[in-house]
Protein backbone atom coordinates (compact mmCIF):
# COMPACT_ATOMS: atom_id res chain seq x y z
CA UNK A 1 0.00 0.00 0.00
CA UNK A 2 1.33 3.43 -0.89
CA UNK A 3 2.12 5.87 1.91
CA UNK A 4 -0.64 8.56 1.86
CA UNK A 5 1.83 11.27 2.89
CA UNK A 6 4.18 10.43 0.03
CA UNK A 7 1.22 10.35 -2.34
CA UNK A 8 0.02 13.75 -1.09
CA UNK A 9 3.50 15.22 -1.56
CA UNK A 10 3.59 13.87 -5.10
CA UNK A 11 0.17 15.32 -5.84
CA UNK A 12 1.16 18.69 -4.37
CA UNK A 13 4.26 18.74 -6.56
CA UNK A 14 2.17 17.84 -9.58
CA UNK A 15 -0.25 20.62 -8.77
CA UNK A 16 2.54 23.18 -8.39
CA UNK A 17 4.01 21.98 -11.68
CA UNK A 18 0.70 22.45 -13.50
CA UNK A 19 0.26 25.92 -12.04
CA UNK A 20 3.74 26.99 -13.11
CA UNK A 21 3.30 25.64 -16.66
CA UNK A 22 -0.27 26.85 -17.09
CA UNK A 23 0.46 30.35 -18.52
CA UNK A 24 2.69 28.90 -21.24
CA UNK A 25 0.21 26.10 -21.92
CA UNK A 26 -2.51 28.72 -22.41
CA UNK A 27 -0.27 30.66 -24.78
CA UNK A 28 0.55 27.47 -26.69
CA UNK A 29 -3.14 26.61 -27.01
CA UNK A 30 -3.97 30.13 -28.18
CA UNK A 31 -1.28 30.13 -30.87
CA UNK A 32 -2.54 26.74 -31.97
CA UNK A 33 -6.26 27.52 -31.93
CA UNK A 34 -6.15 31.28 -32.61
CA UNK A 35 -9.09 31.62 -30.23
CA UNK A 36 -8.79 32.66 -26.59
CA UNK A 37 -11.97 30.92 -25.42
CA UNK A 38 -11.06 27.69 -27.21
CA UNK A 39 -7.56 27.88 -25.72
CA UNK A 40 -8.94 28.23 -22.19
CA UNK A 41 -11.34 25.32 -22.70
CA UNK A 42 -8.65 23.12 -24.20
CA UNK A 43 -6.23 23.81 -21.35
CA UNK A 44 -8.92 23.31 -18.75
CA UNK A 45 -9.96 19.94 -20.17
CA UNK A 46 -6.33 18.95 -20.65
CA UNK A 47 -5.41 19.72 -17.05
CA UNK A 48 -8.42 17.76 -15.89
CA UNK A 49 -7.29 14.78 -17.99
CA UNK A 50 -3.74 15.21 -16.74
CA UNK A 51 -4.91 15.29 -13.11
CA UNK A 52 -6.87 12.09 -13.58
CA UNK A 53 -3.87 10.42 -15.18
CA UNK A 54 -1.31 11.99 -12.85
CA UNK A 55 -0.10 8.68 -11.45
CA UNK A 56 1.03 7.57 -14.90
CA UNK A 57 3.58 10.37 -15.00
CA UNK A 58 6.66 8.72 -13.56
CA UNK A 59 9.24 11.42 -14.24
CA UNK A 60 8.35 15.03 -13.44
CA UNK A 61 10.92 16.21 -15.97
CA UNK A 62 8.73 14.69 -18.65
CA UNK A 63 5.71 16.70 -17.50
CA UNK A 64 5.98 19.46 -20.10
CA UNK A 65 6.05 17.24 -23.22
CA UNK A 66 3.41 15.03 -21.59
CA UNK A 67 1.09 18.01 -21.05
CA UNK A 68 1.79 19.32 -24.54
CA UNK A 69 0.76 15.97 -25.98
CA UNK A 70 -2.46 16.05 -23.96
CA UNK A 71 -3.21 19.58 -25.15
CA UNK A 72 -2.56 18.73 -28.80
CA UNK A 73 -4.88 15.72 -28.55
CA UNK A 74 -7.54 17.70 -26.72
CA UNK A 75 -7.35 20.41 -29.36
CA UNK A 76 -7.72 17.78 -32.09
CA UNK A 77 -10.78 16.42 -30.26
CA UNK A 78 -12.23 19.93 -30.02
CA UNK A 79 -11.69 20.31 -33.73
CA UNK A 80 -13.48 17.02 -34.38
CA UNK A 81 -16.42 17.84 -32.11
CA UNK A 82 -17.32 21.14 -33.66
CA UNK A 83 -16.48 23.08 -36.73
CA UNK A 84 -14.53 26.07 -35.48
CA UNK A 85 -15.62 29.48 -36.63
CA UNK A 86 -13.45 31.54 -38.92
CA UNK A 87 -11.13 33.87 -37.05
CA UNK A 88 -10.69 37.51 -37.98
CA UNK A 89 -6.95 37.78 -37.43
CA UNK A 90 -6.90 41.57 -37.25
CA UNK A 91 -9.51 41.54 -34.48
CA UNK A 92 -7.69 38.77 -32.70
CA UNK A 93 -4.37 40.60 -32.74
CA UNK A 94 -6.00 43.88 -31.75
CA UNK A 95 -7.54 42.22 -28.70
CA UNK A 96 -4.09 41.39 -27.29
CA UNK A 97 -1.75 43.68 -25.38
CA UNK A 98 -3.83 46.84 -25.21
CA UNK A 99 -1.45 48.30 -22.64
CA UNK A 100 1.59 48.60 -24.85
CA UNK A 101 2.97 51.85 -26.19
CA UNK A 102 1.77 52.59 -29.71
CA UNK A 103 5.01 51.82 -31.55
CA UNK A 104 5.64 48.61 -29.59
CA UNK A 105 2.05 47.54 -30.05
CA UNK A 106 2.26 48.17 -33.80
CA UNK A 107 5.42 46.12 -34.14
CA UNK A 108 4.13 43.28 -31.98
CA UNK A 109 0.76 43.33 -33.71
CA UNK A 110 2.39 42.98 -37.13
CA UNK A 111 4.50 40.10 -35.97
CA UNK A 112 1.57 38.39 -34.25
CA UNK A 113 -0.56 38.74 -37.34
CA UNK A 114 2.24 37.18 -39.36
CA UNK A 115 2.52 34.28 -36.90
CA UNK A 116 -1.23 33.69 -37.00
CA UNK A 117 -1.08 33.68 -40.80
CA UNK A 118 1.51 30.91 -40.92
CA UNK A 119 0.12 27.52 -41.93
CA UNK A 120 -0.30 25.37 -38.84
CA UNK A 121 2.38 22.92 -40.01
CA UNK A 122 4.91 25.76 -39.79
CA UNK A 123 3.32 27.62 -36.85
CA UNK A 124 3.19 24.70 -34.47
CA UNK A 125 6.88 23.67 -34.50
CA UNK A 126 7.86 27.33 -34.23
CA UNK A 127 5.69 27.81 -31.12
CA UNK A 128 7.06 24.63 -29.59
CA UNK A 129 10.60 25.83 -30.17
CA UNK A 130 10.39 29.54 -29.36
CA UNK A 131 7.68 29.63 -26.70
CA UNK A 132 7.89 26.20 -25.10
CA UNK A 133 11.67 25.81 -25.40
CA UNK A 134 11.48 22.36 -27.01
CA UNK A 135 14.55 20.97 -28.73
CA UNK A 136 14.38 19.83 -32.34
CA UNK A 137 14.30 16.20 -31.19
CA UNK A 138 11.44 16.92 -28.77
CA UNK A 139 9.45 18.69 -31.50
CA UNK A 140 10.08 15.78 -33.84
CA UNK A 141 8.72 13.40 -31.22
CA UNK A 142 5.66 15.58 -30.54
CA UNK A 143 4.79 15.97 -34.20
CA UNK A 144 5.89 12.49 -35.25
CA UNK A 145 8.31 13.89 -37.81
CA UNK A 146 11.98 13.38 -38.56
CA UNK A 147 14.37 16.02 -37.16
CA UNK A 148 15.22 16.98 -40.74
CA UNK A 149 11.57 17.66 -41.50
CA UNK A 150 11.25 19.74 -38.32
CA UNK A 151 14.29 21.84 -39.23
CA UNK A 152 12.90 22.42 -42.72
CA UNK A 153 9.56 23.57 -41.31
CA UNK A 154 11.27 25.86 -38.82
CA UNK A 155 13.39 27.36 -41.58
CA UNK A 156 10.35 27.94 -43.79
CA UNK A 157 8.39 29.38 -40.88
CA UNK A 158 11.05 31.97 -40.11
CA UNK A 159 11.56 32.82 -43.77
CA UNK A 160 7.83 33.40 -44.26
CA UNK A 161 7.65 35.51 -41.11
CA UNK A 162 10.60 37.62 -42.19
CA UNK A 163 9.00 38.24 -45.57
CA UNK A 164 5.62 39.04 -44.01
CA UNK A 165 7.25 41.47 -41.56
CA UNK A 166 9.25 43.26 -44.26
CA UNK A 167 12.63 42.16 -42.93
CA UNK A 168 15.66 42.41 -45.19
CA UNK A 169 15.80 38.90 -46.66
CA UNK A 170 18.41 39.61 -49.34
CA UNK A 171 21.02 37.57 -47.47
CA UNK A 172 18.67 34.75 -46.47
CA UNK A 173 19.67 31.35 -47.83
CA UNK A 174 17.43 29.80 -50.46
CA UNK A 175 15.64 26.50 -49.94
Amino acid sequence: MRDPLVLNQKHARFQALCQSLRPDLLRFALWLSRDRAVAEDVVQESLLRAWKARDTLEDEKAAKPWLLTIIRREYARTFERKRLTTVNLDDLVASEEPGLAASDAQELAELRLAIFKLPVEYREPLILQVLMGCSTAEIAEQLNLSTGAVLTRLFRARRQLRVLCGEDTSLDPEE
Binding site: L5, A16, Q19, P23, E96, E97, A101, T136, P173
Partner: protein, 262 residues
Protein backbone atom coordinates in the same frame (compact mmCIF):
# COMPACT_ATOMS: atom_id res chain seq x y z
CA UNK B 1 26.21 24.17 -49.48
CA UNK B 2 28.69 26.89 -48.53
CA UNK B 3 29.58 27.61 -44.93
CA UNK B 4 27.70 30.91 -45.09
CA UNK B 5 24.55 29.21 -46.39
CA UNK B 6 24.79 26.45 -43.78
CA UNK B 7 25.31 28.99 -40.97
CA UNK B 8 22.40 31.21 -42.01
CA UNK B 9 20.11 28.26 -42.62
CA UNK B 10 20.92 26.94 -39.14
CA UNK B 11 20.21 30.39 -37.64
CA UNK B 12 16.78 30.35 -39.24
CA UNK B 13 16.08 26.77 -38.20
CA UNK B 14 17.47 26.27 -34.72
CA UNK B 15 19.39 29.32 -33.48
CA UNK B 16 19.71 27.87 -29.97
CA UNK B 17 21.55 24.72 -30.94
CA UNK B 18 24.17 25.81 -33.45
CA UNK B 19 27.01 23.32 -33.95
CA UNK B 20 30.44 24.54 -32.85
CA UNK B 21 31.85 24.57 -36.40
CA UNK B 22 29.07 26.89 -37.55
CA UNK B 23 29.54 29.13 -34.51
CA UNK B 24 33.23 29.36 -35.42
CA UNK B 25 32.32 30.36 -38.98
CA UNK B 26 29.94 32.99 -37.61
CA UNK B 27 32.74 34.56 -35.61
CA UNK B 28 35.10 34.70 -38.60
CA UNK B 29 32.74 35.89 -41.37
CA UNK B 30 31.77 39.57 -41.16
CA UNK B 31 28.68 39.17 -43.37
CA UNK B 32 27.44 36.26 -41.29
CA UNK B 33 28.12 38.16 -38.06
CA UNK B 34 25.92 40.99 -39.34
CA UNK B 35 23.29 38.48 -40.42
CA UNK B 36 23.39 36.82 -36.97
CA UNK B 37 22.89 40.15 -35.20
CA UNK B 38 19.84 40.92 -37.30
CA UNK B 39 18.54 37.40 -36.80
CA UNK B 40 19.03 37.69 -33.04
CA UNK B 41 17.03 40.91 -32.92
CA UNK B 42 14.25 39.27 -34.92
CA UNK B 43 14.34 36.25 -32.62
CA UNK B 44 13.96 38.49 -29.55
CA UNK B 45 10.95 40.18 -31.15
CA UNK B 46 9.49 36.81 -32.10
CA UNK B 47 9.66 35.52 -28.54
CA UNK B 48 8.25 38.79 -27.21
CA UNK B 49 5.35 38.51 -29.64
CA UNK B 50 4.61 34.94 -28.60
CA UNK B 51 4.61 35.71 -24.87
CA UNK B 52 1.09 37.06 -24.81
CA UNK B 53 0.19 38.72 -21.55
CA UNK B 54 -2.55 36.50 -20.19
CA UNK B 55 -3.51 38.99 -17.49
CA UNK B 56 -6.98 37.81 -16.60
CA UNK B 57 -5.52 34.35 -16.25
CA UNK B 58 -3.65 35.41 -13.13
CA UNK B 59 -6.77 35.92 -11.13
CA UNK B 60 -8.09 32.56 -12.26
CA UNK B 61 -4.81 30.90 -11.46
CA UNK B 62 -4.77 32.49 -8.00
CA UNK B 63 -8.33 31.36 -7.46
CA UNK B 64 -7.41 27.82 -8.38
CA UNK B 65 -4.81 27.57 -5.65
CA UNK B 66 -5.47 25.15 -2.82
CA UNK B 67 -8.42 26.16 -0.70
CA UNK B 68 -9.51 22.81 0.65
CA UNK B 69 -7.54 19.71 1.47
CA UNK B 70 -4.11 19.61 -0.07
CA UNK B 71 -4.07 17.35 -3.07
CA UNK B 72 -7.79 17.34 -3.68
CA UNK B 73 -9.00 17.24 -7.25
CA UNK B 74 -10.49 20.71 -7.01
CA UNK B 75 -7.07 22.19 -6.41
CA UNK B 76 -5.57 21.68 -9.78
CA UNK B 77 -8.59 22.10 -11.98
CA UNK B 78 -8.62 25.55 -13.52
CA UNK B 79 -11.60 27.80 -13.16
CA UNK B 80 -14.46 28.25 -15.53
CA UNK B 81 -16.20 31.59 -15.50
CA UNK B 82 -19.89 31.65 -14.80
CA UNK B 83 -22.29 34.01 -16.52
CA UNK B 84 -21.38 36.82 -14.13
CA UNK B 85 -17.70 36.35 -14.82
CA UNK B 86 -17.03 34.86 -11.41
CA UNK B 87 -14.62 31.95 -11.33
CA UNK B 88 -16.19 28.67 -10.28
CA UNK B 89 -14.65 25.25 -10.13
CA UNK B 90 -15.72 23.20 -13.13
CA UNK B 91 -15.52 20.02 -11.07
CA UNK B 92 -17.13 21.32 -7.86
CA UNK B 93 -19.46 18.40 -7.96
CA UNK B 94 -17.88 15.87 -5.64
CA UNK B 95 -20.53 14.89 -3.07
CA UNK B 96 -19.68 15.19 0.62
CA UNK B 97 -18.81 11.87 2.22
CA UNK B 98 -21.67 10.43 4.25
CA UNK B 99 -21.83 7.95 7.11
CA UNK B 100 -18.49 8.70 8.71
CA UNK B 101 -18.43 8.67 12.45
CA UNK B 102 -17.66 11.91 14.25
CA UNK B 103 -14.48 10.63 15.90
CA UNK B 104 -13.14 9.55 12.56
CA UNK B 105 -13.87 12.96 11.10
CA UNK B 106 -12.04 14.68 13.97
CA UNK B 107 -9.07 12.34 13.71
CA UNK B 108 -8.98 12.79 9.97
CA UNK B 109 -9.06 16.56 10.39
CA UNK B 110 -6.05 16.48 12.73
CA UNK B 111 -4.21 14.08 10.45
CA UNK B 112 -4.96 16.27 7.46
CA UNK B 113 -3.81 19.39 9.28
CA UNK B 114 -0.55 17.68 10.22
CA UNK B 115 -0.07 16.42 6.67
CA UNK B 116 -0.82 19.87 5.27
CA UNK B 117 1.74 21.49 7.57
CA UNK B 118 4.27 18.89 6.51
CA UNK B 119 3.44 19.50 2.89
CA UNK B 120 3.77 23.23 3.28
CA UNK B 121 7.23 22.73 4.75
CA UNK B 122 8.24 20.42 1.93
CA UNK B 123 6.40 21.97 -0.97
CA UNK B 124 6.88 25.70 -0.40
CA UNK B 125 9.27 26.70 -3.16
CA UNK B 126 12.54 28.16 -1.99
CA UNK B 127 13.16 30.13 -5.12
CA UNK B 128 16.45 31.73 -6.02
CA UNK B 129 16.83 35.41 -6.86
CA UNK B 130 17.68 34.39 -10.41
CA UNK B 131 14.54 32.26 -10.65
CA UNK B 132 12.38 35.12 -9.41
CA UNK B 133 14.01 37.56 -11.83
CA UNK B 134 13.34 35.19 -14.75
CA UNK B 135 9.74 34.69 -13.65
CA UNK B 136 9.28 38.45 -13.49
CA UNK B 137 10.72 38.87 -16.99
CA UNK B 138 8.34 36.33 -18.49
CA UNK B 139 5.43 38.49 -17.41
CA UNK B 140 6.73 41.65 -19.10
CA UNK B 141 6.95 41.00 -22.84
CA UNK B 142 6.65 44.71 -23.61
CA UNK B 143 10.05 45.25 -22.02
CA UNK B 144 11.82 43.31 -24.76
CA UNK B 145 11.04 45.55 -27.71
CA UNK B 146 14.01 46.43 -29.91
CA UNK B 147 13.99 50.19 -30.36
CA UNK B 148 16.19 53.26 -30.55
CA UNK B 149 13.72 55.37 -28.60
CA UNK B 150 14.84 56.22 -25.08
CA UNK B 151 12.47 56.85 -22.20
CA UNK B 152 12.29 60.45 -21.07
CA UNK B 153 14.70 61.71 -18.41
CA UNK B 154 11.74 62.55 -16.19
CA UNK B 155 10.40 58.99 -16.40
CA UNK B 156 13.81 57.52 -15.68
CA UNK B 157 14.36 59.86 -12.73
CA UNK B 158 10.97 58.98 -11.30
CA UNK B 159 11.78 55.27 -11.42
CA UNK B 160 15.25 55.68 -9.91
CA UNK B 161 14.45 58.32 -7.30
CA UNK B 162 13.39 55.98 -4.50
CA UNK B 163 16.45 53.82 -5.02
CA UNK B 164 18.70 56.83 -4.48
CA UNK B 165 20.56 56.42 -7.73
CA UNK B 166 20.84 57.91 -11.18
CA UNK B 167 22.15 56.51 -14.42
CA UNK B 168 24.99 58.21 -16.26
CA UNK B 169 25.23 58.18 -20.05
CA UNK B 170 27.67 55.26 -20.23
CA UNK B 171 24.88 52.73 -19.69
CA UNK B 172 23.50 53.13 -23.22
CA UNK B 173 19.99 53.89 -24.49
CA UNK B 174 17.42 53.08 -21.78
CA UNK B 175 14.29 52.12 -23.70
CA UNK B 176 12.15 50.97 -20.79
CA UNK B 177 11.94 52.04 -17.17
CA UNK B 178 9.43 50.82 -14.68
CA UNK B 179 9.16 50.50 -10.93
CA UNK B 180 8.25 46.87 -10.34
CA UNK B 181 7.15 44.79 -7.38
CA UNK B 182 9.87 42.24 -6.61
CA UNK B 183 10.02 40.16 -3.45
CA UNK B 184 7.99 42.71 -1.52
CA UNK B 185 9.89 45.81 -2.64
CA UNK B 186 9.57 48.28 -5.50
CA UNK B 187 12.69 47.97 -7.67
CA UNK B 188 13.81 49.72 -10.87
CA UNK B 189 13.38 47.55 -13.96
CA UNK B 190 15.28 49.01 -16.90
CA UNK B 191 15.96 47.86 -20.44
CA UNK B 192 19.18 49.01 -22.07
CA UNK B 193 19.54 48.62 -25.84
CA UNK B 194 22.77 46.83 -26.65
CA UNK B 195 24.16 45.82 -30.04
CA UNK B 196 23.12 42.26 -29.17
CA UNK B 197 19.54 43.34 -28.48
CA UNK B 198 17.63 44.49 -25.41
CA UNK B 199 19.31 43.82 -22.07
CA UNK B 200 17.26 43.94 -18.88
CA UNK B 201 18.63 45.41 -15.67
CA UNK B 202 16.97 45.10 -12.27
CA UNK B 203 18.47 47.05 -9.40
CA UNK B 204 17.98 44.91 -6.30
CA UNK B 205 19.07 47.00 -3.34
CA UNK B 206 17.31 44.60 -0.95
CA UNK B 207 18.95 41.45 -2.31
CA UNK B 208 22.58 40.66 -1.62
CA UNK B 209 24.84 38.08 -3.21
CA UNK B 210 28.41 37.46 -2.15
CA UNK B 211 29.81 36.63 -5.58
CA UNK B 212 28.50 36.99 -9.15
CA UNK B 213 25.73 34.46 -9.81
CA UNK B 214 25.43 33.34 -13.41
CA UNK B 215 22.19 31.80 -14.57
CA UNK B 216 20.65 30.33 -17.71
CA UNK B 217 17.00 29.53 -17.15
CA UNK B 218 13.97 29.33 -19.42
CA UNK B 219 15.85 30.96 -22.33
CA UNK B 220 17.06 33.83 -20.15
CA UNK B 221 20.77 34.11 -19.61
CA UNK B 222 22.29 36.55 -17.17
CA UNK B 223 24.25 37.39 -14.08
CA UNK B 224 23.53 38.86 -10.65
CA UNK B 225 26.39 41.08 -9.55
CA UNK B 226 27.03 42.10 -5.95
CA UNK B 227 27.05 45.87 -5.43
CA UNK B 228 28.77 46.65 -2.12
CA UNK B 229 26.44 48.52 0.28
CA UNK B 230 23.70 48.62 -2.37
CA UNK B 231 22.57 45.01 -2.72
CA UNK B 232 22.93 43.65 -6.23
CA UNK B 233 21.98 44.17 -9.85
CA UNK B 234 20.58 41.52 -12.16
CA UNK B 235 21.39 41.78 -15.86
CA UNK B 236 19.91 39.37 -18.37
CA UNK B 237 19.23 38.81 -22.04
CA UNK B 238 17.13 36.45 -24.09
CA UNK B 239 19.66 36.36 -26.89
CA UNK B 240 21.20 32.90 -26.59
CA UNK B 241 23.98 33.96 -28.97
CA UNK B 242 25.38 36.29 -26.31
CA UNK B 243 27.86 34.42 -24.15
CA UNK B 244 28.22 34.78 -20.40
CA UNK B 245 31.42 36.85 -20.65
CA UNK B 246 29.62 39.40 -22.84
CA UNK B 247 26.75 39.60 -20.36
CA UNK B 248 29.20 40.27 -17.54
CA UNK B 249 30.83 43.03 -19.59
CA UNK B 250 27.42 44.63 -20.15
CA UNK B 251 26.62 44.23 -16.46
CA UNK B 252 29.87 45.90 -15.44
CA UNK B 253 29.22 48.75 -17.89
CA UNK B 254 25.80 49.34 -16.37
CA UNK B 255 27.14 49.06 -12.83
CA UNK B 256 29.83 51.64 -13.61
CA UNK B 257 27.18 53.99 -15.00
CA UNK B 258 25.19 53.95 -11.76
CA UNK B 259 25.78 56.96 -9.50
CA UNK B 260 24.48 56.40 -5.98
CA UNK B 261 22.98 59.47 -4.39
CA UNK B 262 22.17 58.04 -1.00
Amino acid sequence: MTACTAYRRALLSDPRELPEELLAHGRECADCTAFAERAARFEARLEGAMRLNWTHDRAAAAGALPEAAAGSEADVIPLRRDAAGVGVHAAARVPAPAGRSRWFAVAATFALAAATLGLLWIAVPRTSIAGDVVTHMADEPAAWAVTDAAVSAAQLDAVLRDTHMRLEEGAGVVSYASSCEFRGHRVPHLVVQDASGPVTVMVLVHESVRTPVEFDEQHYRGVILPVPAHGSIAVLTRNQLVDQAAIERIAKRVENAIAWTG
